[in-house]
């Protein structure tokens, strides 16, 4: 039923619509099975438990947006009730919603409708035809809620209706169209936020480090795959499989001239200075921890032994005193060091302290 569209319209889909549809589906599905623990399943796989023998519910709604010439941009969507008896959508509700949305977004028109499922069906054509009086060529956005881990792109497809002659009878059938995703800044931020879900308690330093490194890793991986493509292309050009395209070669040569990206002497100086500073600060922090732990120990020591060695235990008491005094000295020196930190005389002083410690 779905072949490729030839109407020449370009579709732009906003992530808000996808999130709305998926949210609608998840709500309906979790309300259907109240005994099932609500985890984030927009899925209908059978390993889900006993209750998922019911077929996945189909949700319906309307999509709204702007059409400028040949470009159709779908911004938002809202839900609609489907009346299974008349096989049509709830018309008065739709009109009321349309009025309300018109007040807030005067430029948005109803561009079509959405539903969930794995493929477009015959019964969908009724709904499609019903909407044709609002918009003469509505679009049908279909979300496939089955989670398929091997699938790389979004399970969203956009269908248009075209008049084709089948068996001598002109019929409207659905044809698939391609679309691009277009984001507003707010949408980009929220999608980015969801994609980088960090552990909510801030995690330990190790998990944060791992998350950071994973981000860098995926970025470098993408760069690597793109350079590989260029490499293959040039190899093919050298062998003669592809005709030499001079402008491309010029661009590649200008790109390669930007390497090595960070190699000057100034960079090395700055980098090493910052590296040394970080190491010294962590060393300082460690020493502070040690001295505070020693502080606690000495406190306990003095509390424990003070009572018993008031008169006789002179050695223990003087030992305590000595330790106390040295502790004070060390803390004072750390104070001084923190001041020095700001003036970068750090390295020599810390080295001395480290040796003396």
């Amino acid at each position: 039923m779905a072949s490729s569209s030839s109407s020449g319209l370009t579709f732009k889909l906003h992530p808000l619509v996808i999130v709305n549809i998926s949210d609608h589906y998840t709500r309906v599905k979790s309300q259907m099975n109240p005994t099932l623990a609500p985890h984030n399943n927009a899925t209908n796989n059978g390993g889900d438990g006993v209750v998922s023998s019911l077929p996945p519910p189909r949700v319906f709604g309307c999509v709204i947006g702007v059409q400028k010439g040949r470009t159709v941009e779908i911004f938002n969507s809202f839900e609609l009730l489907y009346d299974p008896s008349t096989h049509s959508l709830d018309r008065p509700f739709l009109e009321k919603k349309q009025e309300l949305y018109k007040k807030v977004f005067p430029h948005f028109y109803i561009l079509g409708w959405y539903s969930t499922g794995s493929d477009a069906e015959e019964s969908d054509m009724h709904i499609h035809k019903a909407l044709m009086d609002i918009n003469e060529s509505p679009v049908y956005v279909l979300l496939n809620p089955a989670i398929n881990h091997s699938q790389k792109d979004l399970p969203v497809s956009i269908f248009e209706s075209e008049l084709h002659v089948i068996d001598g009878i002109p019929q409207l059938i659905f044809v698939r169209s391609s679309y691009t995703i277009e984001t507003v800044e707010a949408e980009r931020i929220s999608v980015d936020h969801v994609a980088h879900l960090k552990p909510s308690d801030g995690g330990s330093a190790a998990t944060q480090l791992a998350a950071n490194l994973t981000g860098i890793h995926s970025a470098i991986k993408m760069l690597h795959s793109r350079i590989k493509v260029l490499h293959h292309y040039l190899l093919a050009m050298e062998k003669g499989d592809v005709p030499c395209e001079n402008s491309l070669l010029r661009q590649v040569s200008s790109l390669l001239r930007r390497l090595p990206a960070i190699e000057s002497g100034k960079f090395q100086d700055d980098f090493l200075m910052e590296y040394n500073d970080t190491l010294l600060i962590s060393y300082l922090a460690m020493l502070t921890n040690c001295s505070s732990a020693m502080n606690d120990l000495v406190d306990k020591f003095s509390t424990a032994y003070d009572r018993h060695t008031r008169r006789g235990g002179r050695t223990a008491f003087s030992e305590c005193c000595l330790v106390l005094v040295s502790r004070c000295l060390v803390l004072d020196s750390f104070d001084a060091l923190f001041q020095l930190c700001r003036h970068r005389f750090l390295s020599s002083s810390l080295c001395c302290l480290g040796i003396g410690y």
Partner: protein, 249 residues
């Protein structure tokens, strides 16, 4: 890149003109037009045309050499061969100097002013900077920073010149080096991630062990120690009282 987009129309136009040109003088005039045009920096398409290459055999050969110079050579090449090449109009001289800057940017990212002045036959720094700013950066063929204190020009981006025949191999080599470096980087990042995870595991275990030990010691001390403590303190008390009595009789 926008330079290539700007140039592509010009290149097409000149290629059409050159293929339509019937005799050698027409081709030569097309070559002169192409090399003086202020926005055109790519000549290898014109160089590849068959009727341009036919100039090799005629006595207008030096126009072909001129085109080759503009495709691959620099200003000092022109000066050394000035007798064999036709006289250049000022537009062409300017263009050749721009192309010289591009070639220099190929090999070094930081170009000292002295070298630039020598290569471009410019005597003072002011003229050099004017040339770099007006002719090169505003034309969009280079982007970079001028460092007056260190007297150098740091190139961040330079447009590509036409490729010499051997350069393709070098480019492929550079790309494969880049690929292997990024692969190594990926592997080392993976290792670091694993290291971070394993260290956090070790740390957690260690912490748990220490806490368990503390609990154990607390329990054992609580049972045994406080009997000990009680006897000891009462003994202490009586001894001290006795000493007190003796001392302050």
């Amino acid at each position: 890149m926008d330079i290539e987009q700007r140039q592509s129309e010009l290149i097409d136009q000149f290629v059409k003109q050159a293929s339509a040109a019937s005799n050698t003088s027409a081709i030569s005039s097309v070559i002169v037009d192409a090399t003086s045009h202020p926005l055109l920096f790519a000549f290898s398409e014109i160089l590849a045309l068959p009727n341009v290459l036919q100039l090799e055999a005629t006595d207008e050969k030096f126009y072909l050499d001129l085109l080759r110079l503009f495709a691959h050579g620099i200003w000092s090449d022109y000066k050394s061969n000035a007798d064999r090449l036709p006289q250049l109009v000022p537009d062409q001289i300017l263009k050749l100097k721009q192309l010289t800057v591009l070639t220099l940017a190929e090999t070094y990212k930081v170009l000292p002013y002295d070298q630039l002045m020598q290569e471009l036959d410019v005597t003072n720094v002011r003229e050099l900077e004017d040339f770099l700013i007006n002719e090169c950066m505003y034309a969009g063929i280079v982007r970079g920073k001028l460092d007056q204190l260190r007297r150098c020009f740091e190139v961040q981006f330079a447009a590509g010149r036409d490729l010499r025949p051997g350069q393709l191999g070098n480019m492929i080599q550079t790309l494969s080096d880049w690929l292997s470096t990024s692969e190594n980087m990926l592997v080392s990042i993976q290792d670091k991630i694993k290291w971070a995870d394993s260290m956090s595991e070790v740390d957690k275990k260690h912490r748990k062990e220490v806490e368990e030990k503390v609990d154990e010691v607390k329990k054992s001390i609580f049972k045994v120690g406080w009997i000990y403590f009680y006897c000891f303190t009462s003994l202490e008390f009586f001894i001290l009282k006795y000493i007190d009595d003796i001392m302050f009789r």
